[in-house]
């Protein structure tokens, strides 16, 4: 990982010095049904190439198409445009199992769908593995009679207009990475329903409360058993695997087309003005997030040391004599530091958690004994990372403990740093001596009084013992035997 990162950095540095670079790699594979489709997205390709990505275009049937090379991912990123009409899947080189393996190997995937084309079953079953369900009706799309573009979809109401600032949710404590100014146009979007259990899933753009899925080809007046409605429908979905590989499902591929980059749209609500769609900015953010330009956090060195004696309150870690020891004693004070940095355009900068959120340290054995908020500080000595520190007293319990920093937040890569240390009991010579303890004085006095008494008694006994009687006694005893 490190190596690849370094290599990609080097490569990226050589190739271009433009706006943004992925923290992971620049090789991007684009799978589209037909070469002819390529021209419809020319602005999008240019944007990506400007940001340093090396694009490779393949069709699903291309024999050269392979996600892996020598067992390693051949590309860092994959962009899947919707397969053509009538195809059952994405072809033998893009089976769901291969795509899952590709993600498990750490690569990122952006999958775009379109309501215009029926969705193959292979895609549905792949998405089910991420706990994303698509409507059983393969031709349905999301319509909304209150938030449509009155200029292009006056009749069909299937071009949704949504505020860009809501992208990525605007929840407290969640990093604001994907929001854009302006209004987004999502034509012919496929709405997905996200499973309730998976913490890895996040909806970037939810449908408005008045939206629902509808198959225009059925030409019915009303829908009886609707698949999902309102904000249960996710139009753009983010999935970040445990290994921080990212998978994005874009419900509307048309939103990336040149036609929708430049167009002006007008919200159906009365009195709204027509304005330029913010699709281009959003596409940049969305690909930026998926392809690890945004929201990438990494952990640097972890240090912990005994905050006692000569090492107390050390600020310069290089002066420490015993850093990251493997064993501590109970009830001692310990200092813990972790370096966190985040990727900004083309270099690492100090990471600061979003407002009202904190990086936490757990000191745990089976269950946490301490859960502490780490305080971020930056030092001029290290301009690339911020130090998160905590000082605390170890619990009064011996065992094998972990310093555990687990920072999993929506849209940020996962941080999981575990350092195992042993916490031992007091050694036999580490207790305070008895003469230090005031309460022990009566006992000490007792001991020495007894000793003195015994010695005194013996002395008295020996001094006062009559010599004559002893001889007699001995004779008597011998006789008795």
């Amino acid at each position: 990982m490190e190596m690849r990162l370094l290599l990609s950095l080097l490569l990226a540095g050589l190739v271009s010095t433009v706006a943004a670079l992925s923290a992971q790699g620049s090789k991007l594979l684009v799978v589209l049904e037909d070469e002819s489709e390529k021209s419809r997205y020319s602005q999008f390709w240019t944007d990506l190439e400007d940001r340093g990505f090396q694009l490779t275009y393949r069709t699903p049937k291309d024999p050269q198409l392979s996600l892996f090379r020598h067992g390693e991912p051949a590309y860092s990123h994959l962009l899947l445009l919707p397969p053509g009409k009538g195809t059952k899947g994405l072809g033998p080189n893009l089976t769901p199992n291969l795509l899952v393996d590709f993600i498990s190997a750490g690569s990122n995937v952006l999958m775009a769908l379109s309501g215009e084309q029926s969705i193959p079953s292979a895609v549905s079953s792949l998405l089910l593995e991420f706990d994303i369900s698509l409507p059983p009706d393969r031709n349905s799309m999301v319509v909304d009679h209150f938030n449509y573009d009155s200029s292009s979809a006056k009749e069909s109401h299937d071009v949704l207009l949504l505020p860009g600032k809501n992208a990525g949710g605007s929840k407290k404590g969640v990093a604001d990475i994907l929001s854009v100014d302006g209004i987004l146009a999502l034509p012919h979007a496929v709405g997905a329903v996200l499973g309730n259990a998976s913490p890895l899933l996040n909806s970037i753009i939810k449908a408005p409360a008045t939206a629902y899925t509808y198959n225009p080809k059925e030409e019915q007046e009303g829908v009886e058993d609707v698949f999902a409605t309102g904000d249960q429908l996710s139009l753009v979905t983010a999935f970040q695997a445990r290994n921080s590989a990212r998978f994005t499902l874009l419900g509307s591929v048309e939103a990336l087309q040149d036609a929708w980059f430049d167009t002006t749209v007008q919200h159906s609500a009365p009195g709204s003005k027509s304005e330029q769609a913010a699709n281009r900015a959003f596409a940049q953010k969305l690909t930026g997030w998926t392809f690890k330009e945004l929201g990438v956090v990494k952990a640097g060195p972890v240090t912990h040391f005994l905050n006692e004696g000569s090492q107390q309150n050390t600020s310069d870690l290089t002066t420490l004599s015993d850093i990251n020891p493997s064993i501590y004693r109970i009830n001692t004070e310990v200092h813990y530091t972790i370096e966190l940095s985040t990727w900004s355009v083309d270099h690492w900068v100090p990471f600061t958690p979003p407002a009202s959120d904190a990086v936490q340290l757990e000191f745990s054995m089976l269950s946490p004994f301490h859960r502490l908020n780490l305080a971020p500080t930056t030092t001029p000595a290290n301009p690339n990372a911020s130090l998160f520190t905590a000082t605390f007293t170890l619990p009064d319990q011996h065992g094998i403990f972990n310093f555990f920093v687990e920072y999993r937040r929506p849209y940020l890569t996962n941080i999981e740093e575990k350092r195992t240390v042993t916490v031992r009991h007091f050694a036999h010579d580490e207790y305070p001596r008895s003469f230090v303890i005031m309460a022990a004085y009566p006992w000490i006095t007792g001991i020495w009084t007894t000793v003195a008494g015994f010695v005194g008694f013996c002395a008295l006994w020996l001094y006062s013992r009559p010599e004559k009687e002893r001889v007699e006694l001995k004779v008597k005893e011998a006789g008795g035997r």
Binding site: S104, S125, E129, G169, K171, F401, T422, H425, A427
Partner: protein, 772 residues
């Protein structure tokens, strides 16, 4: 045995050169020298008979507990004494760790450590492993010597001590725990036990502080070496108490008992594991009580000697009784209020054999805690077991203080040996001593070549020189029989006929020879297997070694991270720690029942239940022992019910023993097995892929003798990492969490190409909405 032939016949004045060596001062020296040579030979025989395991197999540590002792000894030798004393072991009982330095009996390790350093000092660098392997045989030589001393205190017969020594040297009951490689606490503890008893008898006989202090010293050593020291702690007070009750209180008893108790208790409190137990636990209260009683009785005796008034004596007596009752009541009160710890569970299980099974399955599950089968007595002691009552009877004939000790010891030890197989070990010394006394009596009577002469006893008494063995028997008899009858005043006893002499002697000789044969046979066939390495016979009779344990442990050692945690049933904890050098969750120390129950629960539950437990405990590998292929009956499926029972003790709602039995109450592993059984992690890991060894539908478990279901179990949360040659050890790796956040069943199904079924909205019932 040969010793009895050295007994000279003083009455026959011979002028042969032999007579010079056999009579007078020189004769005494000769006999002493012979005795020494015989003792050395006995020690050599004791050591030699324990070397079968080294010759048959190799110089290897045996079984389970010795592996921990060996590991601890290595730690001691490598890190020094103080590091050992303060040792916090972070490689066992993960993640709790174990304060090993404070929870073990260090005597064994310190002994071998000292020997190691002594040999190095003498420029004899011997591998610590060889010292550990050979410590037990070396100590058995000393035990033989100690039992010689002990028996010599009991009997006047010159042969009794030597007989006891050789019995002790080769009795299988003791060999079972002291063959080469059996590096356990008992290895040195039995020597210390016998030697402490000898010193105690000496102290009671002589009544000297020195012997009492020596008793305390060796008692302290014993405490540092074995938990069985409680036996001494209760036996010596019982002896003293019985003597007091018999009205045999004497200053000798007072001096020896108080010296032993005061110094011995202080010595025992120096062991961290014992600490304040001698004054806090019920097991030790008898010693304290008798200590108080001796003070009271001593004071009363003193007062009585000063104040001859009869009334005053009764007052004193009633006062003694009253104080005793009050003290006893106070003790009971303290126990009830919790200041003094109540009897431990192990202690209760000594009185009620069913107690442990109900309340503490962890104790009952150990094979050596089972009640003894009757044939075991004969197996372990052979002819000694029928000589034993005769010896005890002889003690009654001459019931001095030391004979009382033997009687008490015999009664207690026979009871305990009947309750627990393991305590056969404490019975063996007293059986050897008693049998030697009985046998020496027979030999002394029948092995005298000359017929007794009818000279009257008075002349002998006047001469002051007892006329050989016959005379001494007559003396003994006359002292034993009451003096009331004239005919018994100088009884004439003896064996006159050479025929009966040779008949009895021949019979005894053949018994002894049979005994030696039996001991050798038992030692070589029953007690010399290291159990780490299994031996079997090939059709052509040659020995075939089954080395699966070591194969698997070395696989772990070489192929896993040094910090990889291994979960297995506790039986294998010490071996994994010792041979594979990997952290374990539970081991044979069994100090934390809950932790063992956790492992039991993980083994006996479904995968979905076990997986979170294993992840929480950071388990990397799971090790199971499976004997189905080879017919090795000591495997985990056979131990499985104990895991279930122990887990049920903590989680009665989640693990139920009944669910592992079929409707008809059978414990089955074939297709009749209950779903709980077949879904348990242990069952799945044992039989995973086992079908592939056989033609379809022919899979056979050779231990349970049952045919297995055609479809083997499927595993999703663990994956097979290693299976040893004969499938005895199977190691599984615990998978990490699924990368996509699915459960492992789904992930495995997906990998196999099964599409996940979309649950339709109708079947799902009420729609589950996502809440962000």
């Amino acid at each position: 045995m040969a010793a009895s032939t050295t007994a000279p016949t003083a009455s026959t004045a011979s002028s042969s050169p032999m007579a010079f060596f056999l009579q007078g001062e020189t004769g005494r020296n000769t006999r002493g020298l012979l005795r020494l040579i015989i003792l050395c030979t006995i020690a050599a025989a004791a050591v030699a008979s324990r070397l079968f395991s080294v010759i048959r197999f190799e110089s290897i540590i045996h079984e389970f507990d010795p592996w921990f002792n060996f590991r601890a000894t290595k730690y001691l030798v490598n890190h020094g004494f103080y590091a050992f004393w303060d040792w916090f072991d972070d490689r066992t009982w993960h993640p709790l760790g174990r304060v090993t330095g404070g929870t073990l009996y260090p005597g064994l390790m310190v002994t071998s450590g000292s020997i190691y350093h002594l040999l190095r000092f003498l420029t004899l660098p011997v591998d610590i492993r060889n010292i550990c392997v050979l410590l037990a045989p070396a100590c058995s030589g000393l035990t033989a010597f100690a039992s010689y001393l002990f028996t010599s205190e009991m009997s006047d017969s010159p042969s009794a001590g030597l007989l006891a020594a050789i019995f002790m040297g080769i009795a299988p009951g003791y060999i079972s725990r002291s063959v080469a490689g059996s590096y356990d606490n008992e290895a040195i503890a039995i020597f210390l036990l016998v030697f402490t008893f000898y010193l105690w008898i000496k102290a009671v006989k002589v009544g000297s502080i020195m012997w009492g202090a020596l008793t305390a010293l060796f008692y302290g050593y014993m405490v540092s070496a074995w938990g069985g020291y409680v036996f001494i702690t209760n036996l010596l007070p019982l002896h003293a108490f019985v003597l007091i009750c018999m009205g045999r209180f004497s200053p000798r008893l007072y001096v020896s008992y108080t010296t032993w108790y005061a110094l011995g208790t202080l010595a025992s409190m120096q062991i961290p594991f014992v600490g304040f137990l001698p004054i806090r636990s019920s097991d030790h209260m008898a010693a304290l009580g008798v200590f108080g009683l001796t003070q009271l009785v001593g004071a009363a005796e003193y007062l009585r000697s000063q104040l001859p008034s009869k009334q005053f004596q009764t007052v004193i007596r009633s006062a003694v009784l009253l104080i005793f009752v009050v003290a006893f009541g106070g003790l009971v009160l303290l126990t009830v209020s919790g200041v003094v710890a109540p009897w431990s569970g192990r202690f209760y299980s000594l009185w009620d054999t069913g107690y442990a099974k109900i309340h503490i399955p962890i104790i009952a599950s150990v094979s050596e805690h089972q009640p003894t089968a009757w044939p075991a007595f004969f197996f372990d002691l052979n002819m000694l077991i029928w000589l034993f009552p005769a010896g005890v009877y002889m003690c009654f004939r001459k019931l001095k203080d030391e004979q009382v000790f033997i009687v008490i010891y015999a009664v207690l030890a026979s009871y305990f040996a009947g309750v627990m197989v393991r305590l056969m070990l404490t019975l063996t010394p007293v059986v050897c001593v008693a049998a030697a006394m009985a046998l020496s009596q027979i030999l002394d009577t029948f092995l005298v070549a000359s017929a007794p002469t009818e000279n009257d006893a008075d002349t002998k008494q006047a001469n002051g020189t007892p006329a050989g063995a016959n005379g001494s028997i007559a003396d003994k008899l006359s002292s034993a029989l009451p003096d009331t009858l004239r005919s018994t005043k100088s009884p004439l006893v003896g064996i006159y006929s050479y025929l009966s002499k040779s008949l009895i002697t021949g019979a005894i000789t053949s018994y002894l020879l049979l005994f030696v044969l039996h001991c050798t046979w038992v030692t070589s066939n029953a007690y010399s297997s290291p159990s780490v390495v299994l031996a079997s016979r090939l059709p052509d009779g040659s020995q075939h070694i089954i080395d699966d344990y070591r194969e698997a442990y070395y696989w772990l050692r070489q192929n896993t991270e040094p910090t990889a945690k291994v979960m297995s049933w506790w039986d294998y904890g010490y071996q994994i720690g010792g041979m594979a050098d990997r952290p374990t969750l539970v081991d044979n120390n069994t100090w934390n029942n809950t932790h063992i129950a956790t492992v039991g629960k993980a083994m006996s539950s479904r995968e979905e239940v076990s997986y979170p437990i294993m992840k929480q405990h950071e388990v990397d590998y799971v090790l199971v022992v499976f004997g189905g292929l080879l017919g090795y009956s000591g495997d985990d499926i056979n131990k499985f019910l104990w895991m279930v029972r122990i887990a049920e003790g903590i989680w009665p709602d989640e693990v139920k023993e009944r669910d592992f039995f079929t409707q008809r109450g059978e414990y089955r592993v074939d297709d009749q097995a209950t779903p709980t059984m077949r879904n348990s992690l242990m069952y799945k890991m044992s039989y995973y892929n086992y079908n592939s060894l056989f033609p379809a539908g022919q899979a056979m478990d050779r231990v349970r003798g049952s045919k297995l279901p055609a479809d083997g179990p499927q595993l999703s949360t663990v994956e097979e990492a290693f299976t040893s040659e004969n499938w005895i050890i199977r190691i599984y790796k615990v998978k990490d969490f699924d990368n996509l956040g699915r459960n492992h069943q789904d992930a495995t199904a997906f990998e196999k190409g099964n599409k996940r079924k979309k649950t339709s909205a109708k079947r799902r019932g009420a729609r589950v909405l996502r809440v962000d």
